[in-house]
């Protein structure tokens, strides 16, 4: 396994009181595999990504896990220097809005060069040559000129290409793509997704794609993890999830799919109620909004159970039925 996560928890002790954003997430990721994490905004998917990079530590944020390993190396115990070499070197990350994720006062080329030189012993000019070729690789026209451009002189799509160029610069083992296309026009979205898949396939890079866009995920991921209120409620191969969603939440999510395309980033209107605060409830977090919930759902947290080939779900109702079927 490239990445192995067991019982990852993220706790915030913010001004609004303590609050658990990620609540016992576990999953594995194989080399070159593409996993999508799907869910509404605020469900904790980005926190998972940031926690993997150890970008959430300190200042009232507490990250814990039974096991969090990249290639068998525990990420949680690395010292500051080692974790820096992981960031960008072994796990790269791209963000939702590339125009704000790039430093506005530094030419984009220099930002890529900076990334390269942070991880590889290359001279300034060699790094620049590499950056140039990366720009060509990610399909930036007139790369020479673009190296010297500032983010505000580039379009959103172009900025995201720069981000991708930066992400693949140090040949990382894994790429965290946090809503990489959300801020883009629909036509550009497709191009960027294609590019992303392209470069990951080419270098054998594993990808964790975080998105609420079912369309994007369908075409890109091998596996899908559905998160709700800080926990993974269902995980399984993409086709299985789309074809036979097991969790009521996944089903509801898929039902609203057409609408998601229209209202980017908006909460799903057809699921009644709001996302509950994680750990606020004793039972299943989704229970208050669930139309098939039974008494047990309100009193006890459902464990994640395997119901098919690499298909796991955390739901009393489904697993009981499925379990019955299996028996």
């Amino acid at each position: 396994m490239l990445l192995s996560v067991r019982n990852l928890c993220v706790d915030f002790h913010g001004e609004d009181g303590p609050f658990r954003a990620v609540d016992g997430v576990s999953f594995d990721l194989a080399d070159g595999e593409r996993l999508a994490i799907m869910g509404e905004s605020g469900c904790g998917k980005s926190s998972v990504a940031l926690a993997l990079m150890r970008l959430l530590e300190g200042g009232g944020v507490h990250v814990s896990a039974d096991h969090l390993a990249l290639d068998g190396r525990s990420l949680l115990t690395l010292d500051a220097r080692a974790i820096r070499s992981v960031r960008g070197g072994e796990i790269a990350m791209i963000f939702q809005d590339a125009t704000t994720a790039l430093h506005p006062l530094i030419p984009v080329g220099a930002q890529v060069v900076e990334m390269i030189r942070a991880h590889r012993r290359l001279s300034r000019s060699a790094a620049r040559t590499l950056a140039l070729s990366l720009f060509q690789r990610v399909g930036i026209a007139a790369p020479e000129r673009r190296l010297a451009a500032y983010p505000h002189e580039l379009s959103g799509g172009m900025c995201q290409r720069v981000m991708i160029a930066m992400a693949i610069a140090c040949r990382p083992r894994m790429l965290l793509a946090d809503e990489p296309t959300t801020a883009l026009d629909v036509t550009v979205q497709a191009q960027i997704m294609d590019l992303l898949l392209d470069v990951s396939a080419e270098s054998g890079m594993a990808v964790i794609l975080i998105s609420h866009d079912l369309g994007v995920i369908a075409g890109a991921a091998d596996r899908v993890a559905v998160m709700y209120a800080g926990a993974i409620v269902e995980i399984g191969p993409t086709e299985t999830i789309y074809a036979l969603p097991a969790h009521p939440y996944t089903r509801a999510l898929l039902d609203t799919a057409p609408r998601v395309d229209i209202g980017v980033g908006e909460p799903l209107p057809v699921i009644p109620g709001n996302v509950a605060g994680a750990h606020a409830l004793v039972g299943c977090q989704f229970a208050p909004r669930c139309d098939v919930a039974v008494d047990r759902c309100h009193s006890a947290r459902p464990p994640s159970r395997r119901i098919g080939d690499r298909h796991e779900v955390a739901c009393w109702v489904t697993t009981d039925t499925a379990g019955a079927d299996a028996r």
Binding site: A92, F95, H103, P104, I106, E114, H152
Partner: protein, 320 residues
């Protein structure tokens, strides 16, 4: 760049004219006048007053007086003080170095220290250090400087006798740099503390603002060292508003040390201004007002240019 400067210069000229008209009118509409001081001198007869009024040009209408003053000013003649008859330009320029020294030094020290403190406080937001800095800044800014000045004089000068309490040099000591520095300690200390408190607030806010930006997270995700992130990514944008602010504080060089100069008997512009005010020495007052306005205009322009140079997003030639 050229057109930016040009258009700003035109604006500046218009503004300077406006300021001068308002200042001049205000001054002359006000009760009391420069002759009052002569009146108080029992040897001056009413006929003398009429004569003086004429000599000072005060018997003309305000509009005419303004025109005369303005045309003199444009030709580089700042006029003559009503008291002592010295050329105003001479009066002002002999005071400038003292004020620039006091205020410049205080501002330089305060900006350095204040920015440093503010950056650390921002980086360690909500730490004990941050809270202490906040408390210190609030206290420093909550009492008038003269209070601190008098306290410092009382403690360090009178009681402990460590430092000279006023003036700019040890009299008659010649070129005595050490003596000069000791005279600077208290006034600069008081002024710098207060200005530093302000700057620490500015820079803390600016850095906090930057730390919350997406690109700072990107920099972290790139695996850069925190030091590099703070300096190359954080300060680079955090300093932008501070640079602009520094430019805008340029006029403080003239009027900022008003009270401190009085307390520490510092022979600078502040004292000149306060005295000119109480004597109603119109030519001196106008000169100081215009100088301050000029510095304000320059400060604005410098702030804009500095921002334009430092921030590629501001397109040159268009005012920010």
């Amino acid at each position: 760049m050229g057109s930016l400067i040009l258009s700003r210069l035109v604006q500046a000229a218009v503004l300077l004219i406006g300021v001068s008209v308002i200042g001049f009118t205000l001054m002359h509409l006000a009760p009391g006048g420069p002759l009052a001081f002569y009146t108080n001198s029992p040897g001056v007869s009413t006929a003398d007053l009429v004569q003086m009024k004429h000599a000072f040009g005060l018997d003309r209408s305000v509009a005419m007086q303004y025109l005369f003053w303005a045309s003199d000013m444009l030709r580089g003649n700042w006029g003559y003080s009503f008291f002592g008859g010295r050329p105003v330009r001479e009066l002002v320029f002999e005071r400038l170095p003292a004020t620039f020294e006091l205020m410049g030094l205080s501002m330089a020290l305060a900006m350095l220290a204040g920015t440093g403190i503010g950056v650390v406080a921002a980086v360690r937001k909500d730490s004990l250090f941050d809270h202490l800095v906040t408390l210190w800044a609030m206290l420093a800014l909550s009492l008038p400087t003269f209070w601190y000045g008098l306290l410092a004089i009382f403690v360090f000068g009178e009681r402990l006798g460590w430092l000279p309490v006023g003036g700019r040099s040890t009299l008659g000591a010649g070129e005595d740099i050490a003596g000069h520095v000791t005279h600077l300690v208290l006034p600069v200390g008081v002024l710098a503390t207060v200005i530093a408190a302000q700057w620490s607030r500015y820079s803390r806010a600016a850095i906090l603002d930057v730390l919350g930006q997406d690109y700072m997270r990107t920099a972290l995700a790139k695996g850069l060292s925190p030091l590099r992130i703070l300096i190359r990514h954080g300060l680079r944008s955090g300093m932008l508003p501070l640079i602009a602010l520094a430019g805008l504080q340029l006029p403080m060089l003239v009027g900022g040390a008003l009270v401190t100069e009085t307390v520490f008997a510092w022979p600078g512009m502040g004292l000149l201004f306060v005295n000119a005010l109480s004597y109603r020495d119109y030519p001196v007052l106008m000169a100081l007002l215009m100088l301050s306005a000029l510095l304000a205009v320059m400060g604005n322009l410098l702030a804009d240019i500095a921002s334009a140079l430092a921030d590629p997003r501001i397109r040159l030639g268009r005012s920010a």
